[in-house]
């Protein structure tokens, strides 16, 4: 039971990560692979703050999300000003470079990670409380993105993604809408990071490597890019996948690369066979045109 509950915590975290990444890549058409680093920024902010001072946890999580937002602007402002493609290139450097910085700073614990993050839940069953918080936050992020996409701002996002030049010629500021959705997406990743740090009480740079990006991307692609339920379904399915292949009884040294291989294969297979993902057909508000 304890195990199921811990998977639920992760599920909430990954629903936040995949839904926010979907906002960036699926709705916004902006390709970035730096989502794990914003996840890390949220986690490390909470870790560093709570290890060094007594801070109200929700405030630390909010600060983590805020820092992710600020860093997202540092990445998107210069690169999006030129063209959307530069975001991808810059994001690779940003992800690799910033993680290297984290690995070499003493206050972040360096390569060995940051431990001793205090337990902030001293009531009830710890995991159950975290599972509830995690799922509640995931629901909040889901509802927020749904509100954003279905409302007047959603029209701006769709139109900008469809044709940026025409969008601008109509008097709409494309740069602004790109900065906003990238910022919101990254802030959500920071939020997930805060939750992650408080739950595991330990953060390590290895957890935020570039490969995390392929996992989040797989969740989005398998579930359905640009559909609201897609990333949720993708996150749930992919979190169960390690369990599903667990019966093979391979040693961990084989399991980890096998998982990576499966994620990459899934993305390729889905892009060829069902590019709209699993959920697009069931999702009325999918914003991708049917081809």
């Amino acid at each position: 039971m304890e195990y199921v509950i811990s998977v639920l915590v992760l599920m909430g975290i990954y629903v936040i990560l995949s839904s926010s990444f979907n906002l960036i890549i699926g709705y916004g058409g902006l390709i970035s692979i730096a989502h794990p680093i914003f996840f890390a920024l949220g986690a490390y902010t909470c870790g560093v703050l709570s290890v060094n001072m007594s801070i109200w946890p929700p405030l630390a999580v909010a600060l983590g999300a805020g820092l992710a937002l600020v860093f997202s602007l540092m990445l998107s402002l210069p690169s999006l000003r030129i063209s959307g493609d530069y975001l991808l290139i810059t994001s690779i450097g940003f992800q690799l470079g910033l993680l290297e910085v984290i690995k070499h700073l003493s206050f972040t614990g360096g390569a060995s990670g940051l431990g001793n993050i205090p337990n902030v839940v001293d009531f009830g069953d710890r995991s159950t409380v975290f599972a509830a918080i995690s799922i509640a936050l995931a629901a909040l992020v889901f509802v927020f993105i749904r509100w954003l996409i279905r409302g007047p701002y959603g029209l701006l996002i769709s139109a900008m993604r469809d044709d940026e030049l025409v969008y601008t010629s109509l008097g709409r500021n494309a740069m602004k809408v790109k900065l906003v959705i990238f910022g919101i997406g990254c802030a959500c990743a920071g939020l997930a990071g805060g939750l992650y740090a408080y739950y595991y009480q330990y953060v390590n740079p290895d957890q935020f490597e570039i490969l995390q990006s392929s996992m989040i991307l797989t969740m989005v692609v398998v579930g359905g890019m640009g559909s609201q339920w897609g990333p949720v379904v993708g996150a749930v399915l992919l979190l169960f996948m390690p369990q599903a292949i667990g019966f093979l009884n391979f040693p961990p040294s084989v399991m980890a690369p096998l998982q990576g291989l499966l994620y990459s294969s899934l993305v390729i297979i889905f892009l060829f066979v069902r590019p709209q993902g699993l959920m697009a057909a069931f999702d009325r508000n999918s914003s991708r045109p049917s081809k």
Partner: protein, 259 residues
């Protein structure tokens, strides 16, 4: 009377290619000006210069007496320059109605403070935009398609939606880039009526068009462009009567004769 759009000695070159060579042009309120000339004459490029896609090398463009110098494309559209595109370029993932709504001259939801903290007001304004869009669709006879995806529309209907989207900007200047290319039958008549109505409402309209009978039916006057130069302005009939222009248009002559 101040012209709505005034172009003075505008020059633009891309490397060795001159797309605008000291162009002077004025369009007044209520006027429909035809812009004719062979392919590559610089007609669409002139639209791109007016709407701000490319900066001009020299000269000046003014809208109702105000210089557009240094104004971005966004600001020019908000100042009231609206345009269509030769290849429609509608937003394929959106419905017909939403294609129009997003094209309003001002869009309050772009302002995040208003979006988050004045959502009631934004909602009301959004409903107004939907009403405006529906009104335009009714005028075009396409109200029943308001919730259709763009892919479901015929070519002619898509041309009409391209025009409808431009009309959502209620500014004084309308630039139409080949509104009739590939259009026939009912859509042809509708586009003609709508353009005439918009001129009667006081807009200054400039039409790039190869369909000469459309230009003849609709435009008060026309200008002939060739190799980035504005060769002549006059009534459509006068321009068509010119043997030189006819030869330039239909390819008999490759260079402008020295007078």
């Amino acid at each position: 009377m101040i012209p709505i759009l005034k172009i003075e000695k505008v020059c633009k070159r891309f490397g060795g290619i001159v797309v605008a060579d000291a162009i002077d042009l004025e369009i007044h309120a209520g006027e429909i000006l035809g812009l004719i000339g062979p392919n590559g004459a610089g007609k669409s490029s002139l639209f791109n210069l007016i709407s701000g896609i490319y900066p001009i090398d020299s000269g000046e463009i003014t809208l109702m007496g105000q210089s557009l110098h240094g104004l971005s494309m966004v600001k020019r559209a908000q100042s009231g320059i609206s345009r269509t595109w030769q290849h429609m370029r509608l937003f394929p993932s959106m419905t017909v109605l939403n294609n129009l709504v997003v094209a309003s001259r001002y869009y309050e939801a772009e302002n995040l403070r208003a979006l988050f903290f004045q959502s009631g007001k934004v909602k009301g304004l959004q409903a107004e935009k939907e009403n405006d869009a529906m009104e335009i669709l009714v005028r075009m006879g396409l109200a029943s398609l308001s919730n259709s995806p763009i892919a479901d529309l015929t070519f002619g209907q898509q041309k009409l939606i391209g025009l409808a989207r431009a009309l959502m900007n209620d500014g004084p200047c309308l630039l139409l880039d080949e509104p009739m290319a590939g259009v026939e039958g009912q859509s042809y008549e509708t586009i003609k009526d709508i353009v005439r109505q918009e001129a009667n409402r006081g807009r200054a309209i400039c039409v790039v068009e190869h369909n000469i009978s459309f230009v003849k039916d609709l435009c008060n006057s026309a200008v002939f462009m060739f190799n980035g130069k504005l060769l002549e302005r006059g009534s459509v009939d006068d321009l068509l009567a010119s043997k030189t222009l006819e030869a330039l248009y239909f390819g008999g002559q490759k260079t402008i004769p020295v007078s």
